[in-house]
């Protein structure tokens, strides 16, 4: 094969599908193991096999119609701006630093776009599909309107493109690792399971399933993808604890006013 766009397009898309469904598979299996039931956040809502199959079908359609073109276009665009495909690879510290930046940028993009999607007209016409499952599961991470997949996917794809455009430094391996980690993050956040060993217990600002499950349950707040800081700063945290904190703050404010 002597067509780099074709080669990397196929390679990237196959990798995306393998990671997406490969990462979703353990969550499907866990759903059938009673031991893990105690870790299910919304324990009473277990997705049926039919629901998961229906979800997988729409996800596949979305992957082929929306994500495939994005993946296909990424390589020539990134090459144009100087993405590297050669050896030796960049230092792992370089890759880690770049991926951390992509996470922060994507999280910011996701927060604001996702929050916008909850504005009435956009919610009804676009985002409602993603909220079909109030108790999400791994496969449902990309169960969404094609428009939503495209808009939110821009945060994942254009962060590295902007980076390489500005700095001229990006290796395609860094991009692949970033995509894999981003997929893991999205699928795990939709898994519906909260474990004692979940990442946010060690990284308090990491969102994880606990954070996103509340969003699906309550349909409001917790708009971020990877981190918790935007919801904290913008006071859009969701859940009973956040509601109580909000009430307390309001009461304190009123008490001060009364004094």
């Amino acid at each position: 094969m002597n067509n780099d766009v074709l080669a990397t397009g196929i390679l990237s898309f196959v990798m995306h599908e393998a990671v997406y469904f490969g990462r979703s598979l353990p969550w499907i299996i866990i759903g059938y193991i009673p031991y893990f039931q105690k870790y299910k956040i919304q324990g009473q809502k277990i997705p049926t096999a039919q629901e998961q199959w229906n979800c997988a079908k729409l996800v596949l359609i979305s992957h082929f119609t929306v994500e495939l073109p994005q993946i296909w276009l990424f390589h020539p665009m990134a090459k144009y701006f100087g993405m590297d495909t050669g050896v030796p690879f960049p230092a792992w510290t370089t890759m880690a630093m770049q991926i951390a930046i992509f996470f922060v940028v994507e999280d910011t993009w996701h927060y604001w776009m996702h929050r916008a999607m909850h504005w009435g007209p956009l919610y009804k016409s676009i985002h409602k599909i993603h909220h079909q499952y109030s108790a999400p599961f791994g496969l449902a991470a990309e169960y969404a309107s094609p428009i939503e997949v495209m808009v939110l996917g821009m945060g994942t794809v254009f962060a590295p493109i902007a980076w390489v455009c500005i700095t001229g430094q990006l290796h395609i391996l860094t991009m692949y690792i970033w995509i894999v980690l981003r997929l893991f993050q999205a699928i795990d956040a939709h898994s519906g399971y909260e474990f004692p060993w979940s990442l946010h217990h060690f990284l308090p600002f990491w969102a994880g399933a606990e954070h996103h499950d509340v969003h699906h349950e309550r349909f409001i707040g917790n708009y971020s993808s990877s981190f918790r800081w935007w919801d904290y700063v913008m006071d859009t945290e969701s859940g009973p604890e956040a509601a109580k904190a909000r009430r307390d703050r309001k009461a304190l404010k009123e008490a001060k006013k009364a004094q």
Partner: protein
């Protein structure tokens, strides 16, 4: 299409199949054979000539000068010392002083050759399989780890290295005269 005076007595000229579209991008008055970009050699030609030297590295470029030296220079040509180039991968100026902006991390990957012009060179191995190429590449690229070698072989097989090199020729700092 003619090749430089260093050309070996092989039908390399016939093998080098220039793309008219690409050729038209050459500077006015440029000798196209001297400004041949790596990518302009179709992959099958690389296989036939068994030229499998690729230049990898950020913003590197390859053009006719180096290409001719590597794949077509006759044995004993004093200007051609591929073994030295291999051992000193950053010393591209040995062979191509005119057109290289050679970054410090430039790496030369030699995969093999069976060109008649190279038959007496140190690169007699002509691997045909993936791991044959890997082994050959490993001999001359000891600074690469296993993953980098696998990556380099895979990408060179699908022509991505070729693509990358050809698309950074704007970093060239001089032209052959």
């Amino acid at each position: 299409m003619t090749i430089s005076p260093h050309s070996a007595p092989v039908d390399a000229g016939a093998l080098l199949n220039f793309s008219p579209k690409r050729e038209s991008l050459l500077p006015p008055g440029a000798n196209s054979s001297r400004h041949l970009k790596w990518r302009q050699i179709p992959r099958h030609v690389i296989h036939r000539v068994r030229l499998a030297a690729s230049l990898l590295g950020n913003r590197a470029s390859v053009d006719a000068e180096w290409c001719e030296s590597v794949c077509l220079a006759p044995p004993g040509d004093p200007s051609f010392n591929i073994q030295k180039a291999l051992l000193l991968p950053n010393n591209l100026h040995l062979h191509s002083p005119l057109f290289y902006h050679s970054p410090s991390n430039t790496t030369i990957l030699i995969i093999g050759t069976n060109s008649p012009a190279m038959s007496n060179s140190t690169l007699l191995a002509s691997p045909d399989t993936y791991f044959g190429i890997y082994n050959e590449l490993s001999k001359y690229n000891v600074h690469l780890n296993v993953f980098e070698r696998l990556w380099a072989v895979s990408f060179s097989l699908i022509g991505l290295v070729v693509y990358r090199n050809a698309n950074h020729d704007h970093h060239r700092v001089g032209m052959p005269t």
